[in-house]
Symmetry: C2
Subunit: 340 residues, 2 copies
């Protein structure tokens, strides 16, 4: 019978009895209140140790009105963007005294409602809602008994607080980098046009091109966020516009495909053709030849900030509202800058 060795956890009254004091005294002794004799405290602490006493957080929470837990409501754990956010949040909370309830709704609204109910019944002190895309998602409503922060996917209600990466700035940043590298004939291969991410990045890219008096070479190419599409699109592009000198890709996966085709067609990267990806998914971006310059959305930081906001809200601080677009950053590697 594995993992059943220990008896049921000791209670405070067990400790008190063993130390020969009252329950209240034991409580004070263990919680570091200063109105208890040193000798008594030692006895109590010893007894607690011997029984490996662990205070019951539920009983404590019942009194305090706070549970020291928050809910992390994700719509789809599978998504690559979920994990860093989740890590950031878990990290920020774990450092304090709060624990995280993880709920995966699997993209199903019913299940989400179910999980939400469960979280509320567990009296979480706050909730972070993490969506899988940057498209706005339905708000949980304004009648929540606890603070809610939306991460990655913003809420569609501006009265909610949402934290989402700044894809527009990312698109701009990518183009500005390419221009800074002396490129002027820039094309764009990206994913599903139904994604706000695709549109926002493109808009940012257009803005940067405009500002430099340039235009995209050909139309922006939309399809899916895959390496295969990157390969096919690049082949089409390079045939129709052999004179492009840079390609801004909507994802690292697409960029990997583009690199592949460039190699097949004998185009040298970055000298002859610069390629920039998006997401900075290191498994892909650091293992390509050459390594991939990319835009990093700082997702872990986003998760951390979401956690911090929830913290603040719990402490009664006004955390504001609206959708905040968090800064992204450029990670430069060999696909845009020749290594010396």
């Amino acid at each position: 019978m594995p993992s059943e060795g220990g008896a049921r956890s000791a209670t405070l009254s067990d400790v008190a009895r063993r130390a020969g004091v009252s329950i209240a005294t034991a409580s004070k002794a263990l919680n570091g209140r200063d109105d208890v004799a040193p000798a008594t405290r030692r006895r109590v602490v010893e007894a607690a140790d011997e029984l490996s006493f662990t205070p019951n957080a539920m009983a404590r929470g019942l009194l305090a009105g706070r549970t020291g837990t928050v809910g992390l409501l994700t719509s789809d754990l599978e998504g690559r963007f979920m994990l860093p956010i989740l890590m950031g949040a878990e990290d920020a909370f774990g450092a304090g005294q709060v624990n995280v309830f993880l709920c995966d709704a699997r993209g199903d609204a019913i299940r989400e409602q179910h999980h939400l109910k469960a979280l509320l019944s567990r009296r979480v002190d706050g909730i972070i809602v993490v969506g899988r895309q940057t498209d706005p998602r339905p708000s949980l409503g304004q009648e929540m008994p606890v603070p809610v922060v939306y991460a990655y996917a913003p809420s569609d209600d501006p009265r909610d607080l949402s934290l989402t990466p700044d894809n527009y700035a990312g698109g701009r940043m990518a183009i500005e980098h390419l221009i800074g590298c002396g490129r002027t004939r820039i094309a764009h291969i990206t994913g599903d046009p139904a994604y706000a991410a695709a549109q926002d990045r493109l808009a940012g890219a257009r803005a940067a091109l405009d500002a430099a008096g340039l235009e995209l070479v050909g139309e922006a190419m939309f399809s899916e966020w895959s390496e295969h599409w990157g390969r096919d699109a690049a082949a089409m592009l390079l045939q129709r516009h052999p004179d492009v000198d840079a390609i801004f890709c909507g994802s690292d996966q697409i960029a990997r495909g583009v690199l592949d085709t460039a190699r097949d067609l004998g185009r040298s990267v970055p000298d002859d053709l610069a390629v920039i990806g998006y997401d900075n998914w290191e498994v892909l971006s650091t293992n390509s030849r050459p390594q991939l310059t990319s835009i990093d959305a700082n997702l872990q930081q986003l998760g951390r900030q979401a956690a911090q906001r929830v913290f603040d809200a719990i402490d009664g601080v006004d955390i504001g509202e609206g959708t905040h677009h968090l800064p992204v950053r450029l990670v430069i590697r060999g696909s845009t800058i020749p290594r010396r």
Copy 2:
């Protein structure tokens, strides 16, 4: 002040007062006990609805002695293997009435101890410990007040129950498939030799080769689990042993590198050279040219099973002990079988 609209959650006594009954009656009405008049029940349910009453799970748990929560203690969320396991477990639990506390120890023993304490103080009904490698990890000990199941990384104490993928069988399966494809000159490129996974897979491979009266071409090549190493190793291998007709790779990343080099050197896959990966990481395995045959460890299922074991243990069922090696499966794609 977003997400603060609702007042504090209603309590059962609020509901009772509004319905004009006693707390006890309200409780019975809401919990479907049959000793309450239909009319009364309706009044109570209505009142509960209007106040959007949600029972306090803590108070309930205090009485029941069970919390309906389990702890998921991971050593490193970043790991690719964590996520499917976590999903499987969350899935299995989410279907029932239990919620999951997620704790990431970041590979730090101190932090793990800290989180463990937190979980126990929250009186989780059970714990799943998920490690990032298949090498045995230190046991949490036999004195746990709740059942513990180890997933992926087995415990080093045979009295614990551990669920881990069968890497030996995976290695065997890979080789048997290659032999089944008519290959006889098989080489092995894998990752860090310090990983049990690398050793176990190799052992399984050797067993399968033995059984067929074959030997590995050259020595097994160890280094890191990266695409770069796959490329470099393949180049060395193909130069030294141009006659190899198949390569068993210790990971899909390595296999991607191998495919890359094969293409550079004009070796056609799978006709001239069959390549098989490991992990079935779909982003990599389905986006290569040709797509990658691989071994899938069924991690999501592993997570689900771990959850099921914890469930059983909570219900008092004896879940056994020892390290169980769960079956893996072969996923055949174009890198070993020519598409017709």
